[in-house]
């Protein structure tokens, strides 16, 4: 792609005037289409390697919801009460989801049907994310073209955005998640906002609000926009750059955008009731005050009056701020939502909301992850941010704020790498296009001419730039140190070819890196696992689907399945059975109940399961295959979450040995070995091995010679590679015995037959 861009800039010199503009426009269009094709194509690894299948966990719920929408229509979907999840509570699904994604694919489905193209809804869902990534590339082209005068910056940003692994990680084919369309909406909303601030037009402001509303309907990350736009406006005001353009665009966006966001049932009155949205409201108030003060100042030239006015503005602002704080303290305004708050107070989630801390994508980001996801863009990024300071127009202030905030967020949470990627692509494209524009000029500057040349920006004027506004602020700038000297140009062809060659090499390396990362790290559906056989051929491990289809075909349609919440959506989507908890973690107590059932002794768990009408229990067990994402590895989180609700009954410490180790072998604590999860995982596992040789390939430890015994559950199904094990909860004993007694009795019978049970010990009183 770099070659294409390079070619474009050089050929541009052969075309002059009106035809030249048309040629360039056509070329740009062709390049953008190619970029979109590349973006889509690089996301299809998983479809080609496996099949057209929905990935991971959350997408299964989105897929199920989409199917519901397509089958029952829009209004039933809006009012959907789902009694097949969170048994026995149910979930008001229509009111607790972000419907943007499902509605979008529903509309596309309807449209294709209308055009007599009967496409299966599953295929639309699978290919949704790649299609929108093409649009994202286009949106970042528009966004960057607003930022930079260079004609190549936008195209570079588009291709970076198209293939950067940081974005691909959440938008491969089959990853049917909210982020699939949300990133496009994010970038496009930012583009519209910049356009609105530049033009000061109500139309662009209203469009911003419209796409903001769409974004709110699509992803909870809309809060990022809700806070970033006011911050931009606030910084501009602080820099003394208040202007009628800013006033018009901000007020239009805020008023319409808030109304639009309130149409989503899940959001409802949050925009005026929660602290997450208060910054936007506060800046809305402030901008009115500043606008008023500016107006009065223009009318009244008296200097004392101006001082008074400024003081008044400050006082009113302080009072309003104090009032807001008071409302928050008194509880009228909800405090920061836990998820958002934990971004600032990084220790908060671990203590107070273990369920958020337990998710792996909420962990902080180590530096290799940044480099893995962004490669060379990560070091071009600071350079691009620095270039924004060169002329520091309103829109470049936006990029700087966005860059600093997003890198902070991405550092705190792996998942938010996604919001960082667009700005990294934009900034890196600005830096790189500056180099390319400088070193790709064919003509050599005249040495004598160098000192007379006036200062210029070194790039030809862009086709999209609106010059008059830029000029206004050009005078304000006091400039950067590195751009004080007048611009000359590059003299020797050696320099030009050296740098261009190196940059081309880096870009090619970047493409290789992106392809490699996408193919190796981000294209696994995680529902289907792939492994290599000794001869190098690919072996598909399909235990998940095997087990889910077993459930589907062998259990009653209303059989309740208990599992850890990670698998709730998949069971709902693939097995179509009611679950107790799922990935929509709205009820912490219910999840803790399941955690308690999993981490307690059978005698404690059985009543819990009976009370919740559990028919089957599903555990994921990776010891045979060495699959590390299994339930024993997640077990401590179950314990922690249960401990949060029942601190006296479940204690994390009891699961660690006296030396503080988490073990599953002979040295495991009694609490660990008696827990339902341990028993279900290792039940009859010993039988696979010669006596005393049972090996756990994940934890790398040898298991106790005698395996655990179950009395209240019986094994119902174990998948081919033992990844999924399903147990049936026994009914109450017919003779009214406890299950332990019943099992002991059965055993006693067998032993008698073998002639070993003749000796009986003295009678003892059972103390329980």
């Amino acid at each position: 792609m770099a070659a294409a861009t390079t070619e474009k800039t050089t050929t541009g010199f052969f075309f002059e005037g009106e035809t030249g503009r048309n040629t360039r426009g056509l070329l740009r269009l062709i390049i953008l289409c190619t970029i979109a094709a590349a973006a889509i194509a690089s996301r299809l690894f998983s479809v080609i390697r496996f099949e057209s299948i929905i990935h991971e966990f959350d997408p299964w719920f989105n897929f199920r919801a989409t199917k519901y929408l397509v089958q029952h229509g829009f209004y039933p979907f809006w009012n959907w009460f789902d009694d097949r999840t969170w048994h026995p509570l149910g979930r008001v699904t229509g009111g607790t989801l972000y419907p943007g994604l499902m509605v979008t694919s529903g509309v596309i489905w309807k449209l294709l049907r209308f055009l007599t193209l009967p496409v299966d809804i599953r295929d639309i869902c699978v290919f949704m994310a790649p299609a929108f990534s093409g649009l994202t590339a286009f949106a970042s082209y528009l966004f960057t073209s607003e930022m930079s005068d260079s004609p190549s910056a936008g195209l570079l940003a588009a291709i970076f955005m198209g293939i950067a692994p940081g974005y691909i990680s959440r938008s491969v084919a089959g990853s049917y998640d909210n982020e699939a369309i949300a990133i496009f909406l994010l970038v496009f909303t930012f583009y519209l906002w910049i356009k609105a601030v530049k033009e000061g037009s109500i139309m662009w402001g209203a469009l911003t609000a419209l796409f903001y509303g769409y974004m709110v309907s699509a992803w909870g990350g809309y809060v990022f926009i809700t806070n970033l736009l006011p911050l931009h406006a606030f910084v501009l005001i602080c820099m003394g750059r208040f202007s009628p353009r800013l006033y018009v665009s901000y007020t239009t966006w805020y008023a319409l955008g808030t109304l639009a966001s309130m149409q989503i049932p899940f959001v409802g009155f949050l925009p005026i009731r929660s602290s997450d949205h208060m910054a936007a409201l506060g800046v809305f108030g402030l901008i009115q005050l500043v606008g008023f003060a500016e107006y009065v100042r223009a009318q009244m030239p008296s200097k004392q009056f101006q001082t008074l006015l400024r003081a008044m503005v400050l006082v009113v602002f302080a009072l309003a701020f104090g009032f807001l704080v008071l409302l928050t303290v008194s509880g009228t305004i909800a405090p920061w939502s836990g998820r958002f708050y934990s971004l600032w107070d990084t220790g908060y989630a671990k203590i107070h909301i273990p369920i958020i801390a337990s998710v792996s994508e909420h962990q902080p980001t180590a530096w290799p992850a940044f480099f893995f996801d962004l490669n060379m863009l990560i070091w071009l990024f600071p350079a691009g941010v620095y270039m924004c300071f060169r002329s520091l127009k309103d829109e470049q202030v936006f990029v700087v704020i966005y860059a600093v905030l997003a890198s902070y967020f991405a550092g705190v949470m792996v998942r938010l790498m996604l919001t960082l990627t667009p700005v990294v692509c934009v900034a890196a494209a600005m830096a790189l296009s500056q180099i390319l524009d400088t070193f790709l000029v064919a003509s050599t500057p005249d040495e004598g001419d160098a000192n007379k040349k006036p200062q210029a920006n070194g790039t030809p004027a862009g086709a999209n730039g609106s010059v008059d506004i830029k000029q206004q602020f050009a005078n304000l700038a006091d400039g950067l140190r590195s751009t004080k000297a007048p611009l000359v140009g590059i003299y020797s062809y050696l320099s030009k070819s050296m740098i261009t060659g190196a940059i081309t090499a880096y870009l090619l390396l970047f493409v290789l890196h992106c392809t490699w990362v996408t193919s190796n790290a981000y294209s696994s559906p995680s529902v289907v696992l792939a492994s290599r056989l000794p001869d190098g051929s690919q072996h598909i491990i399909d235990d998940y689907r095997e087990a889910y289809y077993w459930l589907r075909q062998n259990t009653a349609p209303n059989a309740k399945v208990m599992s850890w919440w990670d698998y709730g959506y998949q069971i709902g989507g693939m097995a179509d059975r009611p679950t107790l908890v799922d990935n929509n973690t709205w009820n912490n107590t219910h999840i803790a109940t399941v955690g308690k059932a999993m981490s307690s002794r059978e005698e404690v768990s059985y009543p819990i399961m009976r009370q919740h009408e559990v028919d089957y229990v599903l555990v994921v067990f990776g010891a045979l295959l060495g699959y590390s994402g299994d339930d024993i590895n997640k077990f401590l989180w179950m314990v922690r979450i249960a401990e949060g609700i029942w601190p006296d009954e479940v204690k994390e410490r009891d699961y660690f040995t006296s030396r503080g180790e988490y073990r599953v072998d002979d040295e495991a604590t009694p609490t660990m070995r008696n827990s339902l999860m341990y028993k279900m995982s290792y039940y009859k596992y010993n039988d696979l091995f010669p006596a005393g040789q049972a090996q756990d390939r994940v934890r790398g430890s040898r298991l106790p010679a005698a395996g655990p015994e179950l009395s209240t559950l019986e094994e119902a199904f174990t998948s081919e590679n033992w990844i999924i094990r399903i147990y049936k909860v026994k009914d109450l004993d017919n003779l009214g015995r406890s299950h332990q007694e019943a099992v002991a009795f059965e055993k006693g019978n067998k032993r008698k037959k073998g002639g070993a049970g003749k000796r009986r010990g003295p009678r003892v009183l059972r103390v329980d």
């Binding site: 990024f381 941010v385 890198s407 950067l480 590195s482 611009l487 020797s492 190196a502």
Partner: protein, 329 residues
């Protein structure tokens, strides 16, 4: 003979009474002391033994801690004022000792014997001895133990734990006292800052409005965050570690791991690369002398190539299967 037996038997309740009385006395004596010094009792081995002697009709909460600096127990020192505050408030709220709960602190220096007897390896540990006689008695003399393993250093969770362990006694509420000193400092600081700005505005404003300064701040922030500083902050990773052979190992093995120094090295590499890029893009085309310019181009191009290559080689250390590299390294 029979008479003697009867006599002995009739005396038995009195012995019980006597024991109980002495237990009650013990409580009254210690509680008075606790009231007078408005905080937990300072224990030593002897006092600890005396307090936890078995027939007792009161509960004791003992914090076993190691406050001396040479033990380096940060949590102990953080929690100590909280513990004293909790004991003080509880005692004040229950002046008559209806709940029959005593608070005690046993420092390692005063109670080595107890620490050995309990086989304690870590501090702090909070033990709660329930009463063995009287109302609320528990049959076994096993203290409840609170572990600080999750890093709790506030009084509130301890308060709620005590409430849960002793459900049938009055529970004085724990109210964190208003820190007037902090409020005072805050107000003074705010006023000071405002005054400073009004006075120094003409001198400070040019600095604040300086674009180079803001560029530097933004770049440093971006470099810090993208090189994984927040990971260090949240996970509290070590700065450097020793490898097996006595050398310092700069880079942690594994993709999900890093050291403090490592992130600084990475940030420096990013910084150098970014600076070289900026130089190539902005400074080099402004050099009027062709020779100087040629040299500058070669130098900065070389720096980028070398640094990037080194960065890739470092990344290959972190991620074993990474296939790409650039010439020098």
């Amino acid at each position: 003979m029979k008479l003697l037996t009867i006599l002995t038997a009739s005396l038995l309740p009195f012995t019980a009474l006597a024991v109980k009385k002495s237990s009650g006395d013990r409580f009254q004596q210690h509680f008075a002391k606790q009231l007078s010094n408005a905080g937990p009792l300072k224990l030593d081995d002897k006092l600890y033994g005396d307090l936890t002697k078995t027939p007792r009709d009161y509960s004791v909460a003992v914090l076993l801690t190691a406050l001396e600096a040479r033990f380096g127990c940060q949590l102990c020192n953080e929690f100590q004022p909280e513990w004293e505050l909790l004991a003080k408030q509880w005692t004040r709220g229950d002046r008559n000792g209806e709940g029959r709960l005593l608070f005690g602190t046993l420092d390692f220096m005063d109670g080595k014997g107890t620490f050995q007897a309990l086989q304690l390896q870590t501090a702090p540990v909070l033990l709660l001895f329930p009463p063995t006689t009287g109302p609320n008695a528990k049959p076994d003399n096993v203290p409840q133990r609170f572990d600080f393993s999750s890093g709790i250093n506030k009084a509130e969770p301890i308060h709620s734990w005590l409430v849960r362990q002793l459900p049938d006694i009055p529970h004085p509420a724990f109210v964190r006292p208003i820190n007037y000193l902090m409020i005072g400092i805050g107000i003074t600081a705010v006023l000071g800052v405002i005054t400073f700005f009004t006075v120094a505005a003409p001198y400070v404003l040019p600095i604040i409005q300086n674009r180079n300064l803001w560029a530097a701040i933004s770049l440093i922030a971006v470099l810090l965050f993208t090189s994984g500083h927040m990971f260090n902050h949240i996970r509290k990773v070590p700065y450097v570690a020793q490898d097996g052979r006595g050398d310092v190992s700069y880079f942690a093995g594994g993709f999900q791991n890093q050291f403090g120094l490592e992130t600084q090295i990475v940030a420096a590499m990013y910084g150098v690369l970014a600076f070289a890029t900026i130089s190539l893009a902005l400074k080099v085309p402004r050099i009027a002398n062709p020779q100087t310019q040629q040299i500058a181009v070669v130098v900065w191009g070389g720096v980028i190539l070398g640094m990037y290559s080194f960065l890739l080689s470092v990344f290959r250390v972190k991620n074993g299967g990474y296939p790409f590299w650039l010439p020098p390294f």
